[in-house]
């Protein structure tokens, strides 16, 4: 253990720093403002841990000091196995102790009556954890990992053990703790005491569960409406996606490249923009509605505002995703299967129905489930088009921000939504896994796909061409919409909306006078901070999943991927419930937005990383290890350079997602940190469609610029041999709202 002592010393010193040099509790003005240096180290607010114990009556923090001292004493132990055991235990106890004291002691004293009766009342509570407390938690996690590494876990690789432990710790804090708090919050009163009334009342609410529309008499509950919508959206987008995929691969359609471009659209489109464009077309003041009413005297109706409108918007939004999934499936059906079928005297129609289609079935089911989850999680379109006919995600939102302010209702609705999406996710994982016939094998698979039967070919063209044109019109509306004065009333062209949003005046210095600038720069800042973090966390996880073997790896992978299936609204609600009060308080800060983006977008980085890393020969890492390089050096010098395309993809994707997402963000923004999307939604709610659409198209332009910029920036790797790395082209990922 040559490095064992050095890394341990570093961590012990960090522990000492956490207790003596950093403010233990959260600083109201923000840590990076460094305003706290003025009162340091004696005032109650900014004192470090040791001073808090000695002078401010926070005696319980002595537990942290004791555990760290014991760890310091354990450093001297000679036997590595026993020292490892001691360090691992001290680390685990430290994390446990910190979490317990944080949860048990709130602002004004004990939060739990059981501890109050055990230890007696406290004269004073404690604020939320700050830099010192957070650093000491990290120190304990590292002590735990070093201890395990010294006992030979993961072949004694301290870097890998630490990485796994820290990831588990972070996911626990930022995914499972919030979800848990939300569950706890649903059965609590405002003062925190146990009170299941609200929970029971909401669980039995006919507004959620009523089956009125089926048995006649009134409307169905929001849960059933959402389920119905999700099934219809899944079906619609899968059928359309299949039609597009067939046209793109099995016909001589002349504009195939254009079809492929379609797949980028959902990635760069903020989710509510489609709904917005539909309003401009079919809303009461929409172009088409107005046109029809003038030409044929059809009364402008409100049919768009409800499930029908949401359904159209969602099918428009998610068809490209289904297309992306299904194009791989359709191409993956081995041509030799179809050729075999034709040599067995089957005609084209029989071949398609009996061979090709059954082989695509698992892929179709997968596309359906993705569409289902996307529809469930979609927040932007229902918000814009839903009117009074809400779905679960919008109901959750109104339960929290509206006049009702009923957190336990929000929690119940969130649970219902979570059950739906997680069931779909589980179905996708377990029922579909291993059922994929359409895998491309390494064997040379020559031959060509047979053409579609004539009738089917005409059919898919008849679907694809109108729908493709419709999509073009909708996106055209987005670009043109920003230049039109007032839709339906005054269709003259104007630059007013852009001027209002993005005006700049030169008054000696540049003044950002446009209304959009504030949220625009915040969005850019937060997206730029969270993108690299997401890429790091995602790729590190991918490395661990692909390259390391350890017990519980499947659970680890599953838990990470599960966070993918948690709808953004649920994350949003759970974050405000978890991070509003001690022990962790982050609401209203940029930090909570960054944490939200990192842990919501990470699974995509993980998937991309896994795909890319599986293609790198494992003997490359092993060669590096036998050449005296540790895991960290191996990652830095060998794996990362070979993963550059995957890194770019992860960076671009998380950057773009941070800009376009709305569902979780809308709960977490504050006056100081407002994001572009939530600002646009605000504009829509005020009826300022012109500015909203101008801002949206501006965002789309920015994202296209960023994506192409990245593609140009990242040159080719210095490799000639194509075979080993050819598959590393940035894999586009499906997207979840």
């Amino acid at each position: 253990m040559r490095h064992g002592n050095r890394r341990l010393d570093v961590v012990l010193i960090l522990g000492a720093v956490a207790l003596t040099l950093l403010p233990w509790y959260r600083i109201d003005g923000g840590f990076y403002g460094f305003g706290w240096l003025a009162g340091f180290p004696l005032s109650t607010e900014v004192a470090p841990g040791l001073v808090q114990i000695a002078a401010h009556g926070r005696w319980w923090l002595a537990g942290v000091v004791l555990l760290l001292l014991l760890a310091g004493a354990a450093r001297g132990m000679a036997d590595p196995m026993r020292r490892g055991a001691a360090l691992a235990w001290l680390g685990a106890l430290g994390v446990l102790f910190l979490s317990l004291q944080g949860l048990a002691i709130g602002f004004s004293g004990w939060t739990w009556t059981i501890s109050e009766s055990l230890f007696g009342a406290l004269s004073d509570g404690q604020p939320s954890m700050g830099a010192g407390a957070v650093l000491s938690a990290v120190v304990f996690v590292l002590l735990f990992s070093f201890g395990l590494a010294e006992r030979g876990v993961m072949k004694g690789d301290a870097f890998v053990v630490s990485a796994i432990s820290l990831l588990v710790f972070l996911v626990a804090v930022f995914v499972f703790y919030p979800i848990g708090s939300m569950f706890a919050g649903s059965v609590q009163d405002f003062d925190g005491s146990f009170n299941p009334d609200g929970f029971i009342r909401n669980m039995q609410d006919p507004g959620i569960w009523s089956l009125g529309c089926v048995i006649g008499g009134g409307r169905c509950g929001v849960a059933w409406r959402t389920l119905w919508l999700a099934i219809m959206t899944g079906l619609g987008s899968t059928l359309l996606g299949l039609a597009f995929a067939l046209v793109a691969t099995r016909t001589r359609f002349p504009y195939k490249k254009g079809l492929r471009l379609l797949t980028i659209l959902p990635i760069i489109t903020p989710p509510f923009v489609i709904g917005l464009a539909l309003t401009l077309l079919f809303g009461r003041a929409g172009v088409i509605t107005q046109g029809l009413s003038e030409l044929f005297g059809i009364e402008p109706g409100r049919w768009l505002y409800g499930l029908t409108g949401i359904w159209i918007a969602q099918v428009l939004s998610f068809t490209p995703i289904a297309f992306l999934v299904l194009i791989g499936v359709v191409e993956g059906v081995s041509p030799s299967m179809e050729e075999a079928s034709t040599t067995l005297r089957a005609d084209r129609w029989r071949t398609f129905r009996r061979v090709s289609l059954p082989l695509m079935k698992p892929g179709l089911a997968n596309a359906f489930l993705i569409g289902f989850i996307e529809s469930m999680a979609d927040f932007g379109n229902p918000l814009v088009l839903g009117g009074s006919h809400g779905v679960l995600s919008t109901e959750i939102f109104f339960a929290v921000v509206g006049s009702q302010n009923d957190p336990s209702r929000a929690a119940v609705l969130a649970m219902v939504l979570l059950v739906f999406t997680l069931s779909a996710f589980l179905a996708q994982r377990f029922w579909l896994s291993g059922k994929n016939f359409a895998t491309v094998t390494g064997k040379g698979d020559s031959g060509a796909h047979i053409a579609l039967p004539r009738g089917l070919s005409i059919g898919v063209h008849a679907i694809v061409i109108p729908w493709g044109l419709f999509t073009l019109v909708v996106y055209g509306m987005i670009l043109v919409g920003g230049f039109v004065k007032t839709w339906g009333l005054d269709n003259s062209l104007t630059l007013d909306h852009y001027a209002k949003a993005f005006s700049i005046s030169f008054d000696g210095s540049i003044a950002w006078t446009g209304v959009a600038w504030n949220s625009f720069w915040t969005t850019m800042e937060i997206a730029l901070i969270s993108a690299p973090l997401t890429a790091i966390v995602g790729l590190l996880t991918a490395y661990i999943i692909v390259r390391q073997k350890f017990t519980g790896k499947n659970v680890f992978e599953f838990a990470l991927m599960m966070s993918f299936a948690i709808p953004g609204t649920v994350i949003g609600v759970s974050y405000i419930m978890a991070f509003n009060l001690p022990p962790l308080e982050m609401t209203g800060s940029a930090l909570i937005l960054i944490a939200c983006f990192v842990f919501r977008n990470m699974p995509v980085g993980v998937r991309g990383g896994i795909a890319a890393m599986s293609q790198l020969d494992k003997s490359l890492d092993e060669a590096s290890l036998t050449l005296r390089a540790g895991s960290f050096r191996t990652i830095r010098k060998v794996i990362l350079p070979l993963l550059r395309p995957a890194i770019t993809a992860a960076l671009v994707y998380s950057f773009v997602r941070a800009i376009t997402s709305i569902s979780a963000v809308i709960f977490l923004v504050s006056a100081e940190y407002n994001m572009a999307t939530s600002y646009i939604v605000g504009l829509v709610e005020n009826g300022e469609y012109g500015v909203a659409i101008a801002y949206s198209s501006m965002l789309i332009v920015v994202m296209i610029t960023v994506i192409t910029g990245f593609q140009l920036l990242v040159g080719d790797r210095r490799l000639r041999r194509e075979n080993r790395v050819a598959g590393l082209a940035p894999s586009r990922q499906e997207k979840t709202a």
């Binding site: 004694g156 490359l620 060669a623 590096s624 050449l627 005296r628 790797r717 210095r718 490799l719 080993r724």
Partner: protein, 353 residues
């Protein structure tokens, strides 16, 4: 200058399991410093697992591993004084040959300049001086292989590990490179552990061969011992093809033994044979074949195949069906004809278990 320091290798009761599967039940072996030892066996016999445990890429479930007398059982790969040549070479495709060779030196803490100087030396040692600027993809298969060897050797490890280093080369090149490796090993005097499933390769390069089967050592010894005195029919068949037939040892006369095979008697090196029933390994080339019935073992040709410089026969006899290689190509015995078989003096060995 590259100075090798040869170290010994010891496995003490090493056990390795993967989940419920036991790859190595209980392995003990010693490798003398400065020798080239081959681990030979069919795929799945545990030879690669043994090598990877030595490299530190797998850790044993139980037992101890010593390198140069030092216990390295729990040491990670990057802290062990061994280096390895991989089957796929595992050259880093984004680095030049020189950077590949210098990589391990830099990891060991040498300055960039020192590492490059030494890497140049390593490249010229394997005959690639001046090729340092090329990427692996710009080198031929044989050159890539030599870069991989140089990369491992410049670290001056106590033990060099080679995992099927020739399997990605074509047959002609394979012969040349294995000679080069052997020559390099004898010149520099390092300890080498060589894994292969090709017995020709093993016979050609080794000081000692360890044949493994199902995670255990089936037999170990000098190449010649293994070929001439196989300890089991598995070894006899694995070390060059052999017909294994039953025989009876009727008497032992010093170093030689008299045996009876059906109606025939013959004299073979005794090895460790005892009188009584035994098995005999007969190499396909060690059988003489004559037309018609005569004095010797009666046989009937089942099948014959002409292969240019020799003819392969399957012959049915009283002691079983024999596979025979005959170099008399101008006379081919047709199927279903009668033949008389005799044994040559070389290529026949008693199996000593």
């Amino acid at each position: 200058m590259i100075n090798q320091k040869a170290g010994s290798v010891t496995f003490e009761n090493v056990k390795k399991t993967f989940g419920a599967f036991t790859a190595i039940p209980d392995l003990s072996l010693t490798i003398e410093p400065g020798t080239l030892v081959t681990l030979l066996g069919p795929s799945g016999c545990g030879k690669t697992t043994t090598l990877r445990m030595l490299a530190g890429l797998e850790h044993p479930t139980a037992g101890r591993i010593l390198i140069g007398g030092k216990d390295v059982t729990m040491l990670p790969a990057n802290e062990r004084d061994v280096s390895m040549v991989f089957q796929s070479y595992a050259l880093f495709p984004h680095m030049s040959s020189l950077d590949n060779v210098a990589y391990g030196l830099e990891s060991s803490g040498l300055s960039r300049r020192e590492a490059r100087e030494k890497a140049e030396e390593g490249l010229s040692l394997v005959g690639l001086a001046g090729m340092g600027g090329r990427l692996p993809a710009e080198l031929s298969g044989g050159q890539q292989q030599r870069v991989a060897v140089a990369r491992a050797l410049v670290l001056e490890p106590q033990v060099l590990l080679l995992d099927e280093p020739l399997s990605n080369l074509d047959a002609r090149l394979r012969r040349r490179v294995r000679t080069e490796i052997r020559e390099l090993q004898q010149r520099l005097g390092f300890t080498a552990v060589y894994v292969t499933h090709d017995q020709d390769e093993a016979l050609a390069v080794s000081d000692r061969i360890i044949v493994m089967k199902d995670g255990e050592i089936a037999q170990s010894g000098a190449p010649r011992d293994l070929y001439e005195f196989p300890a089991s029919s598995f070894i006899a068949d694995f070390m060059g093809e052999a017909n294994v037939i039953a025989c009876e040892v009727v008497g032992i006369d010093g170093a030689e033994a008299d045996i009876r095979i059906g109606s025939l008697t013959h004299r073979v090196p005794a090895g460790r044979a005892k009188p009584g029933a035994a098995s005999l390994a007969v190499r396909p080339g060690a059988v003489t074949l004559a037309e018609g019935r005569g004095e010797g073992l009666a046989g009937r040709i089942l099948h014959s195949a002409y292969l240019g410089d020799h003819v392969e026969y399957e012959v049915e006899t009283d002691v079983g069906t024999l596979f025979i290689v005959d170099h008399a190509v101008d006379r081919i015995l047709p199927a279903a004809s009668n033949a008389t078989l005799g044994f040559k003096n070389r290529g026949i060995a008693l199996i000593s278990n």
